[in-house]
Symmetry: C2
Subunit: 327 residues, 2 copies
């Protein structure tokens, strides 16, 4: 590498903000959770600490729905999927005969989620396969640019939790590589994670399927299918982490029983120091309050019961977070 003016500018851009940066995690109130995060980063990045972790091993994984943004009144990808179903229905008259479509149009969420989400995946198949990956991406982008959350009246991608954005940035500033490990679809997630969370597509592990490659006259395309569907939830989260990342994380943030195995994989008998965190939804006024009986997804019972034994930090959104969303 030559030290060109361009490289020098990059170096300066990297070094200068650090000089002016205020204390980390400003949207977190003082307390056990904030202190645990600060202490963990301090001890794992201090070369003189017995808990020091070399840079390449600093892998941090984050669930998305309920951990980085809300999952109510519906997971946002489900809102997109239902909106897409309505939008395309006039041009797809045969869809009306489908029982999953009928359940979706009738707002019958329990029917969609029954039998291991069979109806939901049928809807996802209808609106999320058979087109090219670029067409799908364009539809997701169009949705984000127009749809608004029914309660918070904002574009969905402006509802990331401010305190979690600060955690992501704080970890990255300290050499951690941040990954999404979500039950949501990777194709959907990758449209907004870079802009919203600073997490590039190649660091997004989500539910996924295999596309099909075709070389058309206009150029190469990948056509979305439902082949080899991988649902990146529960026991599959460590499987997805191994398959996509290939290293054991040392930091995991989740909010539901769907994250239990990811937290276990990260924190139990890990040769490195590790940090497991559960975001507990306790703030009905500013966001939502639920655990055993969630309004949509996000049931939190088993992981919460295990937290004390495992040393997982439980974040009390109401007490620990000074604010919920960005200004």
């Amino acid at each position: 590498m030559k030290l060109t003016p361009h490289i020098l500018a990059l170096l300066l851009a990297w070094a200068l903000p650090s000089l002016a940066l205020a204390a980390p995690l400003p949207s977190w109130n003082s307390g056990v959770a904030k202190q645990a995060i600060l202490n963990f980063v301090q001890k794992t990045t201090d070369p003189d600490s017995k808990d020091f972790i070399p840079l390449p091993e600093r892998i941090a994984v984050f669930d998305n729905d309920g951990t980085l943004w809300p999952e109510n009144p519906l997971p946002f990808q489900l809102a997109f999927t239902l909106d897409e179903l309505h939008r395309r229905l006039p041009e797809e008259p045969s869809w009306k005969d489908d029982s999953a479509v009928q359940a979706a149009l009738g707002g019958d969420l329990p029917a969609l989620l029954a039998d291991h989400y069979k109806g939901l995946f049928r809807i996802i198949e209808l609106v999320g396969s058979g087109m090219t990956t670029e067409d799908f991406a364009a539809r997701v982008r169009a949705w984000f640019s127009t749809a608004r959350h029914p309660r918070f009246k904002r574009p969905y991608d402006q509802l990331a939790y401010q305190p979690m954005l600060e955690v992501l940035e704080f970890l990255r500033d300290n050499g951690f590589k941040t990954f999404i490990v979500s039950g949501g679809g990777a194709d959907f997630l990758r449209i907004f994670t870079e802009k919203t969370y600073g997490i590039p597509p190649e660091q997004v592990v989500g539910s996924n399927t295999r596309a099909v490659f075709e070389l058309k006259d206009s150029g190469p395309v990948l056509v979305k299918t439902m082949a080899d569907l991988f649902i990146d939830d529960k026991s599959a989260k460590p499987v997805g982490i191994y398959q996509f990342i290939g290293r054991r994380p040392i930091v995991a943030f989740g909010n539901s029983d769907g994250d239990k195995q990811m937290l276990e994989y990260t924190t139990i008998a890990n040769p490195h120091s590790s940090l497991g965190v559960i975001v507990h939804h306790t703030d009905a006024e500013r966001e939502y309050a639920y655990d055993a009986k969630p309004k949509s997804t996000g049931q939190l019972v088993a992981a919460l019961a295990e937290a004390a034994d495992r040393g997982w930090i439980v974040v009390d959104m109401k007490k620990d977070w000074r604010r919920i969303f960005p200004e």
Copy 2:
């Protein structure tokens, strides 16, 4: 980020070598191939160029066998697999009745590769599933520490092509993110790619299967299976790139018809400038010479025929490379 002494040291470590660094690609002879690589990097990293590519989009993908290291007399993973078969045979007497094992022990490579590599994958199943991912990793590490290449008499992981190591480094020095996209097994590749190529596990896309998560008394493990086998070759390479990386590359290096679709996906109708390169094995004296009739894998006919039309650079190993292996 605070500008701690540790961060300062990192900054200096990053900046200083660049001051002393000699001209890039020293093991490349002057010629069309070297010039094409230099020109491409120059124009895509110059902010004033119409071909400038923003940092996050600088994705470069590399085939492994025959592109970054040899694939003769056998692909190295196959050498490992056969050595493992022999090593474990005494403790697995039932294996002797397996027709694939018999073909392997008899050195009958055509039989192993027939019927879409059915025999080969049976052997891979025998020596590569049923154990934990950590056990498998330990076996691969043990093999690399003892096995020697029959012709070059070196540990296999010291046979990376020196000119390609320089390409990887040159691209990374210019803000490119380098990925392996190989038909080889991701589990096998990830053991050595970080040390040998400077490519971390999370930037390795290879053939893969799904493991199974188990929480044992001793801690969490992932048990290797053959479930959902994905063979990352030919048309599957763009599929794997989309699934794992989620962006279209702008640089692709390959050496065989197995890389044709990856080269097509990278270079045809890409909105960005792109670079496709084929490493042509023309040096029987220092390495091997083959294309239409390879000694093992690596047939190169269709991609070579397409190269001129597509503007792919064909590297003539004999003429273009000053040396083949590191000292």
